[in-house]
């Protein structure tokens, strides 16, 4: 689903920070960035390479983005999608913000203005190596969890 609110906010941020390269994956959004580089959809390997190389990853509050950031050990700044804005079917991204967004290295913005302010603050921190980045984790889930699933398969 489109998330023009995020695209527009980061395009405005890119306009205000012309010396910092910004690239946005906009999906099916209507708003086409005028200041940031943009692409509709990156192949997964390119997406992972971008996350690995960035100073700050800005995304919706989705688990794919969160897991990608944690696996890469990159700080992630998120804007939850809202059902009332037609950005998702439900408000579960607000729940994700409450239950997962509190982990170290994960940052949640309240709205577009907060997102832009936090992007500047987190990048300033990153320059001093003080940005809260998540500790990188293994490619795989907790072995105790996958062992239970293996037992199900073999039962």
């Amino acid at each position: 689903m489109p998330f023009d609110r995020l695209t527009r906010a980061m395009d405005e941020w890119a306009a205000a920070n012309p010396h910092i390269p910004v690239e946005i994956q906009i999906g099916r959004g209507d708003y086409e960035p005028r200041h940031a580089r943009w692409v509709r959809k990156l192949p997964l390997s390119d997406y992972q390479a971008r996350v690995q190389a960035c100073a700050l990853f800005v995304a919706h509050c989705g688990m794919g983005s969160i897991i990608s950031a944690i696996e890469a050990g990159k700080p992630i700044l998120m804007l939850p999608r809202l059902a009332t804005q037609g950005e998702h079917n439900t408000d579960h991204q607000l729940a994700t913000a409450r239950h997962v967004g509190t982990r170290p290295g994960l940052h949640v913005a309240a709205d577009s203005d907060d997102l832009k302010a936090r992007a500047s603050a987190l990048l300033a921190d990153a320059a001093h190596d003080a940005a809260g980045a998540p500790a990188p984790i293994s490619r795989f889930a907790d072995p105790a969890f996958t062992a239970r699933i293996r037992a199900f398969i073999e039962s």
Binding site: L44, I70, H92, H99, A141
Partner: protein, 148 residues
């Protein structure tokens, strides 16, 4: 040779979560099915299938998705289905159930306050439903851990 396992998920976070479960089926004859061909690289050296996506919001795509998934089931003939959602995983479990295929629904970690819509119905179709949140466990929904 182990069991024939189909690991199936929609795109985005559903598929990323599924791939974090790979050690669960290591050594079995696994096939992987999802929607985005570019995510093949994550699945490793196993048979890889794609299907046309569907969700509750665009339910009219169910026939096309179900046709693709039926073809995958005929090719793989799974004994076990593992899915991290969303609706396509439920369709796979429902289509395969009459043939004795056992299925596990792992509700997405994104559902931290209520079970997902498909997850709530998965109890009618799947042999086992698990949530990744201890506080969402109930008499019919277990919590075995989480992908994080």
């Amino acid at each position: 040779m182990g069991k024939r396992v189909l690991a199936i998920a929609s795109g985005g976070g559903h598929f990323i979560q599924l791939m974090r479960l790979q050690p669960a089926w290591a050594g079995h004859q696994v096939s992987v099915a999802t929607v985005d061909p570019s995510t093949r690289t994550l699945a490793g050296d196993v048979p890889f299938y794609t299907f046309r996506d569907v969700s509750r919001a665009d339910w009219w795509r169910i026939p096309a998705a179900a046709l693709d998934i039926a073809r995958i089931l005929l090719a793989v003939r799974p004994q076990v289905i593992i899915t991290t959602g969303a609706l396509p995983g439920l369709i796979a479990a429902a289509l395969a159930r009459p043939f004795g295929t056992k299925s596990l629904w792992v509700d997405s970690i994104a559902n931290s306050e209520v079970l997902s819509g498909s997850g709530a119905q998965a109890g009618l179709v799947c042999n086992q439903v698990v949530t990744q949140w201890p506080h969402l466990a109930s008499d019919r929904v277990d919590n075995w851990g989480s992908v994080l």
